[in-house]
């Protein structure tokens, strides 16, 4: 095993260890905190496909996170109110169905946003993705049927066949297993032919075109896959909080996901895991001490960008190797 693999394994096990240690010492609150870490990590794994592998700095991934959240909220609301959708389609409280709907909806929206924004690059790409996400944010605020500005609460957490999702540790395990699946997807994508083309598009777009692969299609596919993974995390996030609000769609959320990735290590397999652990602990501990915890997070981020470009994973495992 090389250092990169060891680091990834250690970080993933650390995340599993947090709720176990918490329960052993009676700090049950930390189980929920660990679920939050796993969910944010999964959302960032999604973004890491577009940003880390493809160099697509999407400042609008909150849109997909929020779409996932609203998929959970809206489907559950219809199920609980016994109000079918148009065409008589019923709502549902079943997580697997919700996840599928969340990913499909985000995939369709991402295909549309991507088809327009991927024609641009650099700052323009950042701004267009931001603009689309803000449009969806304001739509959610002004659309009264699902709570508008107040959001939508899920009075009882959605169900997964055969397990009790109300138990915090069971819910953590669901999030954790989906995170593992997301990491495995990232790992296979990165090393595949598609991943090679995607990373080449980031390193040298001209070169990719000059071997006969159009960068646009590769990036668009990556953007859609990326959005679907982030939407899955969004659905879990709504279930964690039993609440979805437009804030899930806001640019703060997009920024948080980017910060997570930079903290953890851009383009690195376990970067989002490291980033989520650091971020949530910071938020919890420093947030308990001072309301201005984000100032200190900013300082840490500055340090990472200036002195440790590879983030936490870069510090632990050294420079990325591409074979």
């Amino acid at each position: 095993m090389n250092r990169e693999t060891l680091t990834s394994a250690a970080l993933v096990l650390l995340l599993l260890g947090i709720p176990l240690a918490a329960m052993a010492t009676g700090h049950n609150f930390y189980v929920t905190l660990a679920s939050r870490m796993a969910i944010l990590a999964l959302a960032a794994v999604g973004l890491n496909i577009a940003l880390g592998l493809g160099g697509l700095v999407s400042f609008g991934h909150a849109a997909f996170f929020g779409i996932g959240g609203y998929a959970a909220g809206v489907l559950a609301w219809h199920a609980m109110m016994l109000q079918p959708f148009p065409l008589g389609l019923p709502g549902t409280k079943l997580m697997p169905v919700i996840w599928l709907v969340a990913m499909l909806a985000a995939g369709i929206v991402a295909a549309f946003i991507g088809a327009i924004s991927i024609r641009t690059s650099g700052v323009y790409f950042i701004m267009i993705t931001l603009a689309f996400a803000q449009m969806i944010y304001y739509f959610a605020i002004s659309f009264p049927s699902y709570g508008g500005e107040d959001g939508l609460s899920i009075s009882l957490r959605n169900a997964f066949p055969g397990v009790n999702t109300l138990d915090p540790f069971t819910f953590f395990l669901i999030c954790y297993l989906l995170l593992l699946a997301g990491l495995f997807l990232f790992f296979r994508l990165r090393d595949s032919r598609f991943g090679a083309a995607l990373q080449a598009a980031r390193q040298n777009e001209t070169r990719l075109a000059a071997v006969g692969v159009s960068p646009f299609g590769i990036r668009l596919a990556a953007f859609v896959i990326s959005a679907m993974v982030t939407a899955l995390a969004g659905a879990l996030y709504a279930d964690l909080n039993r609440f979805v609000a437009p804030s899930m769609l806001s640019w703060h959320m997009s920024g948080e996901l980017i910060v997570l990735i930079i903290l953890g290590g851009t383009g690195r397999l376990a970067g989002p895991v490291a980033g989520a652990i650091v971020f949530v602990l910071f938020e919890h501990w420093l947030g308990g001490i001072t309301e201005r915890w984000q100032l200190y997070l900013g300082l840490v981020l500055l340090g990472v960008v200036l002195f440790a470009r590879g983030g936490v994973v870069g510090l632990l495992a050294g420079k990325a190797r591409h074979g």
Partner: protein, 249 residues
Amino acid sequence: MAEPVLELRDMSKAFGALKATDGVSLDLKPGEIHALIGPNGAGKTTLIHQIAGSIRPDAGTIFFLGQDIGHLGVAGRVRLGLGRTFQISSIAPEFSALRNVMLAVQSQQGTSYRFWKPVLSDNSLVDPAMAMLERAGLAERARVPAAELSHGDKRRLEIAIALALEPKAFLLDEPMAGMDPEGSKGLTRFLDELRAEAPILLVEHDMDAVFALADRVSVLVYGRMIASGTVSEIRADANVRRAYLGDES
């Protein structure tokens, strides 16, 4: 007379008042090396860009294998069989030399939308890529990140990538640029044999190489083609001597 593989008719391109390409027509026949020479700023690279599809001409048509390719983008022209190298090496810097060539192999196979199988253990990519690196004399540097290759090795990597595409015609933009004399000689021998596989449109400043290799030479000055013919015709051409080679040569 064999049908030309590549044919340009009346290509023109202006940047503002500057006519970078001014009514240029030329063709490339099977098995030949057609050299394109001219002083700096004559519009050679601009012309290559138009053939490759990265710059749109204002007027004129390009036929490749008997087909008008004016509407195709860069990637589409490469897929048809137009392989190019760049004047300034253009590679994926983080990837090893091997992975740079593997990228060309997967594109040539049309398999860039496979999402699951790892490439590094895939012999259908690694083996052909290694073979190309060997032909270009770069096999020992296969695992070195492309950014860390020497200038000459980057030039060889460009050639290996172009070879892996198995093109029907090569566009080589100053392949010898910045190479030491030894490297230039080796590359000259290499290109000499390469023309049997596919004809080469060669932009080159190294006159020794041009005169040793070219079946035909075209001379571009201020975007205009002032002469075109065999090496001895070009050497004897008074216009060319005045405009380019210098009176005393």
